[in-house]
């Protein structure tokens, strides 16, 4: 298999006032792999994702997507280059319907948003993929609900549906399973598994069952630095990681 | 342009700034902390002024009248909160604007029904009515100095209350998430009434301070409230420190504009044109300032930190 690097991060740094959240991180995500980032709370995982997605700018460092440095590009431009993120704390458009939320994601991918005249909600080119994405996360039943009238777990599903509908090359998943019940979590794991090979994923997750089931490689972030990295087996066996993060979970 | 005039105008600007701060601090409390846009804040300013005028007539003493009018204004504020405002916290800003505009209309009409269209003058006690001779040969009205002093004292007290006390913390907690604060046992209903009443007192106090100068009149709060909003915005919503800095800034700019702009304009245009356009342009200054500040700092001078 061609071990082509899709995303390369070099010496990335970000501090907030006195707190250095990400402290010189370098990593490589290969095309088609599921690359997990784990680490204690406050280690800088979400910050890393925000840096990659372009919501905040780095103090230093480079982010190469397919060889192109995108570190100074705004979030929307990166999204257009095929980068999509899901949010740790659910972020949808609350007053729109569930389906409309996904529709927006499809529209974003489609890119032709300066169209003033034709109704969007009856445009099959938008509606069909959106419905398919909802189907995929088994949320089709709620398509017509307002997005602020569904439960926490359903929000999480919607969050993933939107990320999927954007059909990105690289998915940045920030705790996708948070708030999902065991059942939904398992189904979601199945969905992500099905995407494996087709999409590249950077996965942040505290649920070790999910991480070990999905990840091809794992980076462990502690205090803003990469403390260990390698295959799931290697990381699981790493004594330092166990002490700093896993506890007896992996035993 | 002589130094004495500049010094006098600085003091005038300071006095206006302090007055604006009194108004703006109540706004920033209610607006920044409870996220409620209260256009009717200016009406409480008016109510304060009228109550004080009425009580000065009744008691014959300005100070006593202020002492009585302050709690009375607080009561009015609390009543407004209980009757109208409290149902609106969870609505969006537009609803606030609309409802409080309704309140303004009610207040203006009610005041006219009670006190008639003519204003109410307040007679200052003799000791406050004179002038003070300041160093540098400056003569300044005693009463305006008093306003400066009172305003500064209130600013300090307010800062301590909101930032340093547990009450202040609970108010802020309730503001950001009332349901959660309630679930922690904080009686947000009462707290909010309290804050609103406090804001009313500050507005009322500002009204009482200005009334002996311009007299209490209908609608007196409706224009100055916009300036107070400008202060809040320039300072950064919710920031008492920001409101203070911005109030002084705007007080000074406004006064300086009124004093020296026509001179400056005369350098560029005919005296006639300068004289007629100067007042309009100086009134425009604070808006230019606001737009300039927001162009570079879209959240004002002291924005809250967010993620």
């Amino acid at each position: 298999m061609a071990e082509e690097a899709l995303l390369q991060v070099e010496d990335l740094k970000k501090s907030f006032g006195g707190v250095t959240a990400v402290d010189g991180v370098s990593m490589t995500v290969r095309r088609g792999e599921v690359h997990a980032v784990i680490g204690p709370n406050g280690a800088g995982k979400t910050t890393l994702i925000s840096l990659l997605a372009g919501e905040i700018g780095p103090d230093r460092g480079r982010i190469l997507l397919g060889g192109r440095d995108i570190a100074r590009q705004p979030a929307y431009a990166r999204a257009r280059l095929g980068l999509a993120r899901s949010f740790q704390i659910t972020s949808v458009v609350p007053e729109m319907r569930v389906l409309d939320n996904v529709l927006l994601a499809v529209l974003a991918r489609d890119g032709r948003s300066f169209r003033f005249w034709h109704p969007a909600r009856s445009d099959p080119a938008l509606v069909r993929p959106a419905e398919a994405a909802l189907e995929r996360v088994s949320l089709a039943h709620a398509a017509g609900e307002r997005a602020d009238a569904i439960s926490h777990g359903e929000h999480r599903q919607l969050e993933i549906a939107m990320t999927l509908a954007a059909e990105p090359e690289l998915l940045l998943l920030d705790e996708p399973m948070a708030g999902m019940s065991a059942e939904e979590s398992r189904r979601m794991t199945g969905i992500l598994e099905g995407l494996k090979g087709e999409k590249t994923m950077l996965l942040v997750e505290h649920d070790m069952d999910v991480v070990f089931a999905l990840a091809d490689r794992i980076d462990v972030l502690v205090g803003g630095r990469i403390a260990a990295s390698g295959t799931p087996e290697a990381v699981r066996a790493d004594e330092a990681v166990r002490r700093a993060y896993l506890g007896d979970e992996a035993v | 342009m002589d130094a004495g005039l500049v010094a006098a105008q600085l003091l005038n600007g300071l006095q206006l700034g302090v007055l604006l701060f009194l108004l703006a601090s109540g706004l920033t409390l209610i607006f920044g902390i409870m996220d409620f846009v209260n256009l009717a804040h200016g009406s409480l300013y008016m109510v304060g002024a009228y109550l004080c005028a009425e009580l000065t007539d009744a008691t014959g003493s300005f100070l006593l009248a202020v002492a009585l009018a302050l709690p009375a204004t607080a009561l009015v504020g609390a009543a407004v909160e209980l009757l109208v405002v409290r149902r609106l916290y969870r609505r969006d800003h537009l609803d606030h604007v609309l409802a409080t505009f309704g309140l303004i209309l009610c207040f203006d009409a009610l005041v006219q029904m009670i006190w008639g269209p003519e204003g109410m003058a307040i007679r200052l006690p003799a000791w406050a009515d004179g002038q003070q001779h300041l160093p540098g040969g400056l003569v300044f009205p005693t009463y305006r100095l008093l306003i400066i002093g009172a305003g500064l004292a209130v600013a300090a007290g307010l800062y301590v209350l909101v930032v340093r006390t547990k009450l202040g913390m609970r108010i802020r907690a309730g503001a950001s998430n009332p349901a959660m604060a309630g679930a922690l046992g904080i009686d947000i209903g009462r707290l909010f009434t309290l804050v609103f009443a406090l804001g009313a007192v500050m507005a009322g106090l500002a009204g009482m301070m200005i009334a002996p100068i311009t007299e209490a009149s209908i609608g007196m709060g409706n224009e100055i409230i916009i300036t107070a909003f400008v202060v809040v915005i320039v300072g950064g919503i919710g920031s008492i420190r920001g409101a203070f800095v911005a109030a002084l800034l705007i007080g000074l700019i406004d006064t300086m504009g009124r004093s020296f702009l026509d001179m400056a304009l005369k350098l560029a245009m005919s005296a006639q044109a300068a004289e007629t356009s100067a007042p309009a342009l100086s009134a425009m200054l604070i808006y230019i300032l606001m737009a300039a500040v927001l162009a570079f700092r879209p959240q004002g001078l002291f924005p809250p930190k967010t993620r």
Partner: protein, 372 residues
Amino acid sequence: DKVRIGFVTTLTTPAGVIGRDMQDAVNLAIQDIGGKMGGLEVELIVEDDGFKPEVGKQKTDKLVKQDDVHFVAGFIWSHVLLASRKSALDGGKFLISSNAGPSQIAGKLCHENFFSTSWQNDQTPMAMGEVLNQRGVKSLYVMAPNYAAGKNMVAGVERTFKGEILGKDMTKWGKDAQLDFSAELAKAKASGAEAIFVFYPGKAGGAFIRQYQQAGLQDDIALYTVFTVDAIALPNLQKAGMTGVLGSLNTQFWGPDLDTPQNSKFVSGFKKAYGRYPSFYAAQSYDTIFLIKSAVEAVGGNLDDMDGMRAAMKKADFPSVRGAFRYGNNHFPVQNFYLRKVVEDADGVWTTTVIDTVLKDHQDVYAAECKM
């Protein structure tokens, strides 16, 4: 049929206090004539302009189109009158200004169906300029609100005052008028002028006087006013103990103590009905009704006879509170202007008294521009 009179004035906002005075005077006048003119009943429709030209115009439109009045009268503010003028005149109605007298309407925009029962803006300050000259004032500081009348007032005093004008402030006007004059007063004082001339109608007048006294300027710069210290401002000034205003001078075409039969009847009637002195606004409004009455009676109640009524009004043949006067070609009064002083009357109430005649049978300068 009835004689329908539309009356546009300001009833809301603080300026409503002026409107109230006018409305009271009109009601009193109608009562004094027994509610009838030339055998016809009088119907009065009062509209509030809210101190806004646009609203004033809207209300005029309503009076013309919906109420189909015969006379549109009232108008405190020059800009409101300018905005409403076209609606009333194009609608074929008589337009009578009971106060506002902007230069345009006296000059280029004069119209056969327009009449004034007041004065042209420039005249009163022109009288004041003469007074200043007589008293040997050499240097002056000028303050007025920045609107049509304010500009006219300043132009008026500049026209006759022979000394030097050391500074001038035109302050913000309208519903959010500037009322705190600290900066301007500091400038006036620093200018070193001998006297200050101000025009602040309504409540702004009271505010100005108060701050003038609080700043302790009585000894530095003498105060001369027009339309500022009047029956509207004085009660509040008295209440606030602004004794500095006693003895101050102003000019006017009228005074409550002017000795004419009609004026005695008016002032005593007004005081009796409302318990206060009438203002000049009231006096002019009172006159308005009598002017209309003279017109209606001249045509024997035939309200379609516009020409007849116009000719009658032109004669100014009615008992005016100011005594006899005549109309100029532009239908503004040619009349006297008096110097008045603020005094305490026998009952201890502050009022003004006429102490001198400054201009006799004075016609405004814009009349020359009127092609009528």
